[in-house]
């Protein structure tokens, strides 16, 4: 059973009131108005929730509507590690994308990929089952990027689809714009998963960069701990501006409790290392 963060149960009304109190200034209300105009009530029409919580309060508070917008395009890219190298296949960005997919409502998940021949690394369903039921997956392999974007768009128009994910290296602004509009019109989220940082597209609502981070071993041993990701929110349209230029968090996925949480700062800075040394001591 996935453990649900307690603030899922906070009523949306109380959240809205709190937001109004905090940002009673004119620019904030104007921004809110513009956003409503831009989004054209599309989500309300399709009867889905406007946004879905990530389950991490620190991130959700920055996002519009207190979570990831359902009727929008989101990009997830794998970033280079500390050595500046990007792996040809990345498991961490896929894990984060699967976590997001698991948060979106019931229905089929359309997963579109490019055919990559014998050196291809397919998503592996036994691992994906930590985030969502792989029986919900409809896997589509396209030979060309045009076909992939077409399949994604067709999926966004289909009422039974909960979310659409496209795995590609191509970044086509026109296709991004079309996907964004289709997602907005139908209230179905579209995710683009990139194995490499692509050219920044201006149309997506959020862009995330995921880099796998060293995990925490059991003190005194050198085993592989729970998966840790350095998550950067590099674009946050309609969202609350944050103090940092690029807000970034170190997240840890606990496969036993099915919980994604921010690693406390004290445990991963230099102090954290000292703390572990002391424990080993």
């Amino acid at each position: 059973m996935p453990v649900i963060s307690p603030n899922v149960f906070a009523s949306p009304v109380s959240r809205a009131v709190a937001a109004n109190d905090a940002a009673a200034s004119v620019p904030a209300t104007l921004r809110e108005k513009v956003r409503r105009l831009e989004r054209a009530n599309s989500v309300q029409r399709s009867g889905r929730a406007a946004s879905v919580k990530l389950g991490i309060p620190a991130i959700d508070s920055l996002l519009p509507e207190g979570g990831l917008l359902t009727g929008a395009l989101h990009e997830i890219e794998a970033g280079p590690g500390p050595s500046g190298r990007v792996a040809p296949h990345d498991g961490a960005a896929l894990g984060f994308a699967a976590h997001l997919l698991g948060r979106f409502g019931p229905g089929t998940i359309l997963w579109c990929r490019r055919a990559a021949g014998p050196s291809d690394a397919m998503p592996y369903a036994p691992a994906l089952s930590s985030w969502f039921e792989p029986a919900r997956l409809l896997m589509v392999t396209a030979r060309r990027d045009e076909d992939l974007f077409w399949a994604m768009e067709e999926g966004l128009r289909c009422p039974g689809i909960a979310a659409v994910l496209g795995e590609t290296r191509a970044s086509d602004p026109t296709a991004g714009r079309r996907l964004s509009l289709a997602a907005e019109k139908n209230g179905v989220p579209a995710l683009l998963l990139r194995a490499q940082p692509g050219a920044p597209q201006s149309v997506c609502a959020t862009r995330w960069r995921i880099v796998s981070a060293p995990s925490a071993s059991t003190p005194g041993l050198t085993d592989v701990g729970a998966a840790r990701w350095r998550v950067e929110l590099r674009r946050n349209r309609f969202g609350t501006p944050s103090a940092d230029e690029i807000p970034s968090w170190l997240l840890e996925w606990n496969d036993e409790t099915h919980c994604l949480a921010v690693v406390p700062q004290a445990l991963h800075g230099p102090a954290g290392a000292r703390f572990e040394e002391r424990l080993v001591g």
Binding site: L94, A127, A135, L138, M139, D147, W150, G160, S215
Partner: protein, 492 residues
């Protein structure tokens, strides 16, 4: 006569090499064209048309020009007129259309395939080519015995005995004939006369559901073809409703004025008789059809139908999410995607009971029933942590290990070195000895099955990988390392 002898007699003889394959293609094309008259068309097996090479074609008694087609037009002649006049009109239409394409042909119509075969080849007068109902006994009496489709030895004996006409055989007592010639002679006579049934095996299995639309004037515009398709589809869907079935496959054939036929088909993942949805699938395909100089006839058929499950599309079921229900348009989406991307590229993932990681997950067509709820979770819980991506084919890596049985301290994959900081393992997975190897052989019973030792490692960049050692470590023999390392997956 050999070619050299013929050339000696006639020095400027024009010769061409025989091409049985090209001849067969032509005969098949004509047979396909004949689908306009009846779905029940067969290429005559006694002619030389089906022979694979020149020698067998010649020994079969005919080559090229002797090719024949058998059409069962029962129940099709009313499209050309009432009763006998319709049959005559069909025959005349067939001959006119074929001769307009510079194909010389002789067509005969009779109650039995044998009688028509004999008449088409040996009838002397044009009027004899049409044999009225139950008139084959009289019509055949005057024809030579070659018209009975007999083996050459039997034919030779008959001629030696002076039995030259089929009518000569009628008064003969049957017992001595069988004793003298075996059962073939009388079987052929009975088949020709209709006392013994001779089924025609059609070239293409005729579909049970089929609608046709003939045009007074050939049509060519894409909109006209789409409109005609929609009319045909509406008629076919009514047939489906009466029969309580839905289509799994539909085929549309355009019969063009130049005699060629263009076909295209669509497939669905579940029995479908929803006119608008099928039309939407066809719209994707109609663009690929070429009307050529114009289309004079369109036939829509359903080669594959299945019993209709009796569900209504109008009532979506909120309680059963996913593609299992298929009510929410997902199946239609899958059909649309499969039509453009190929059915093998639109799949769902099913579980398989296996210990080998690469065998657990199989791609299955959308029409298959999905994995049970929680089946994946159960598999995941049985095993240690699994990678989020699995390489289709494990890739060989070079490793450095201080202790042979330990996880490596460094591995090199695709020309990049990864220094390993943390490692988990091993998890030993043995090969499934009860399953034959890929080459079909079974491992000998005495040997241990090959094993793999899987390690989950993390490099200094934080990347997590899934490596395995192919078999336990053994001391190197003749300088060859006995255990190789492979990279198999990427962890979250």
């Amino acid at each position: 006569m050999r070619l050299a002898d013929a050339r000696a007699l006639l020095p400027d003889l024009v010769t061409e090499a025989g091409e049985p394959q090209a001849d067969l293609r032509l005969v098949e094309a004509i047979a396909g064209w004949c689908d306009r008259y009846t779905p029940w068309v067969a290429i005559d097996p006694t002619g030389g048309a089906l022979a694979p090479d020149v020698e067998t074609a010649c020994s079969a008694g005919g080559f090229g020009g002797d090719a024949g087609l058998l059409l069962d037009v029962t129940g099709c002649t009313h499209l050309f007129g009432e009763g006998e006049s319709g049959e005559r009109a069909l025959l005349a239409d067939l001959v006119t259309r074929l001769s307009r394409r510079d194909l010389s042909c002789r067509a005969a119509m009779a109650d039995t395939a044998g009688a028509a075969w004999a008449l088409a080849r040996f009838a002397e007068r044009q009027a004899d080519l049409f044999c009225p109902a139950r008139g084959q006994r009289d019509a055949l009496a005057a024809l030579p015995v070659e018209g009975l489709r007999l083996e050459p030895p039997i034919l030779e004996t008959l001629l030696k005995l002076g039995l030259r006409r089929i009518g000569d055989l009628y008064p003969m007592p049957r017992g001595p004939l069988v004793r003298r010639f075996g059962d073939q002679l009388l079987r052929r006579v009975d088949q020709a006369l209709g006392t013994l049934d001779e089924p025609i095996e059609p070239r293409r299995l005729p579909p049970a559901f089929r609608t046709r639309l003939a045009f007074a004037e050939p049509i060519g515009r894409a909109e006209d073809i789409a409109a005609a398709t929609s009319r045909l589809l509406a008629a076919l869907c009514r047939q489906f409703e009466q029969a309580g079935v839905g289509a799994r496959q539909l085929e549309i054939a355009l019969y063009r004025v130049d005699g060629s036929v263009d076909r295209t088909s669509i497939g669905t993942s579940r029995p479908n008789r929803d006119n608008p949805k099928l039309m939407k699938l066809f719209e994707e395909r109609l663009g690929q059809l070429d009307a050529g100089f114009g289309v004079e006839l369109m036939i829509l058929s359903a080669p594959e139908v299945e019993a209709w499950s009796g569900t209504q599309d109008a009532l979506p079921d909120q309680d059963s999410p996913g593609i299992a229900s298929g009510m929410d348009g997902t199946i239609d989406l899958a059909d649309r995607l499969a039509l453009r991307l190929g059915a093998e590229n639109v799949v769902r993932l099913l579980t398989r009971d296996s210990h080998l990681p690469e065998r657990v997950q199989i791609a299955a067509p959308v029409s298959s029933s999905p994995a049970a709820e929680g089946a994946w979770r159960r598999i995941a819980n049985l095993k240690n942590a699994r990678p989020t991506r699995l390489l289709q084919r494990p890739e060989l890596v070079e490793v450095t290990a201080f202790v042979p049985d330990d996880p490596p301290s460094m591995f090199r994959w695709r020309r990049h070195a990864h220094r390993i900081v943390r490692a988990d393992g091993p998890e030993r997975i043995a090969d499934e000895w009860w399953r034959p190897r890929p080459d079909g052989s079974r491992p000998p019973a005495a040997t241990l099955p090959p094993v793999r030792d899987y390690y989950r490692v993390e490099d200094d960049d934080g990347g997590r990988f899934w490596l395995f050692r192919d078999g336990p470590y053994q001391p190197a023999a003749n300088g060859q390392p006995t255990a190789r390392w492979f990279l198999h997956g990427f962890c979250a």
